[in-house]
Amino acid sequence: MACAARAEPTQAELQAMKASYERPKVVPFPKNNPFSPAKLALGQQLFYDTRLSGNGAMSCASCHNQPHAWGDGLPTGVGSKGNRLGRRSPTILNLAWAELLFWDGRADTLEDQALGPIQNPDEMNQTLPALVADLNKTPAYKKAFAAAFPGEAIAPDTIAKAIATFERTVVSGTAPFDRWIEGDESAIDASAKRGFVVFNTTGHCAACHSSWRFTDDSFQDIGMRSSDKGRGAVIEGVAQLSFAFKTPGLRNVAERAPYMHDGSIATLDDVVAHYVDGFVRRPSLSPEIHILPLTERDRADLVAFLKTLSSPDSKASGPNLSTGDKKS
């Protein structure tokens, strides 16, 4: 591989790059579903409750599991009947800031998204009437809903709002990278610092993996060997959206293997190799994807940089959320 010398960024250029990665100070909540502690508590309880699946075998946390950085560590998800799903379970980290949900963006909001997997026969296979009836029979839930939504019924709308509220509070913690952005030069090593520059320049990664979340929420065909049309099946007639999937954020990415929408790449080294020259050429290929002139050191530096995005968040597998009521 070519090993051409390249100019190092000036301090001003480096500071400009770093400025776009500062973390936000507050979590945004929508006007039509403002935060409340009662709503958060209810949403967390629902998120971990297997009542949300038809056979009582699965909760949201089955696929979005905190010890796996809120994914499941599997190439593709597994449904309530043990069936393999078609796409990898995405992390729920930092979704308060996300635009459009699911790998193909078919849900506008977290509230819209929350009820999808519950009702999907291949996933949780529950019906909303059955879920509402079950929750209504549970005194602890009746109390929790009354506290979270005074005067409102236990209904799909309030279930979705509660789960979405909990999900918005799932935010990646402070990573070594953040401490470096804040001015601690010892927070990351020289290789990771070089990797940050590669990420923003010759690696062309920041064209889509931008902002403190490391995503612009765009949909791109990155040349995976997959027949899944992704966003192209949601919006037909736009060639560029065939095989396009949502650009995932990269927070805690070292804890989120395997990678890509189909979980077909096992390691970060192999992800970088894919972007260098391993992608499928086809008409829908993103204009942002092209052969990258990266040296072996660049590749290693990129991976070193990506590993600095991991925050030492709790690996707890979930709280004890027993309602004290027997599941009916």
């Binding site: 635009e99 963006g105 919006i235 007639g237």
Partner: protein, 110 residues
């Protein structure tokens, strides 16, 4: 934005110009540059038309959610191309790019 392109229909209210010709000349133009609309929130009279122009060097595709909740896809918009959106309903139109959904704006009609 760039208000240089954005001509508010009501700014010259009272001037007697034939309706169709007036609307054609003064159609507000909203740009798209660096994956951002030049305005994120727009107030327009019901029935007016806005023109959305792709000033980027990449393609966009416009998705419209109308006040009645019905969605429509205006298709691919190449760099330099313009698309007109007529605002027939009263309420809020959500307009966003189907490829770059962070590029979005709300158009309120009154």
């Amino acid at each position: 934005m760039t208000f240089r392109k954005f001509v508010i229909l009501t700014a010259v209210g009272g001037i007697a110009i034939a309706g169709a010709a007036y609307a054609e000349v003064h159609k507000p133009i909203i740009g798209q540059k660096n994956k951002v609309f030049s305005l994120q929130e727009v107030n327009m009279p019901q029935g007016a038309t806005i023109r959305v122009e792709n000033d980027d060097n990449i393609v966009h595709t416009l998705l419209i959610t109308k006040p009645d909740g019905i969605r429509s896809d205006l298709g691919l918009q190449k760099p330099g191309e313009q698309l007109d959106i007529t605002l027939e309903q009263l309420g809020d139109y959500m307009v966003r790019c189907g490829i770059h959904p962070a590029m979005k704006m709300v158009v309120h009609t009154r």
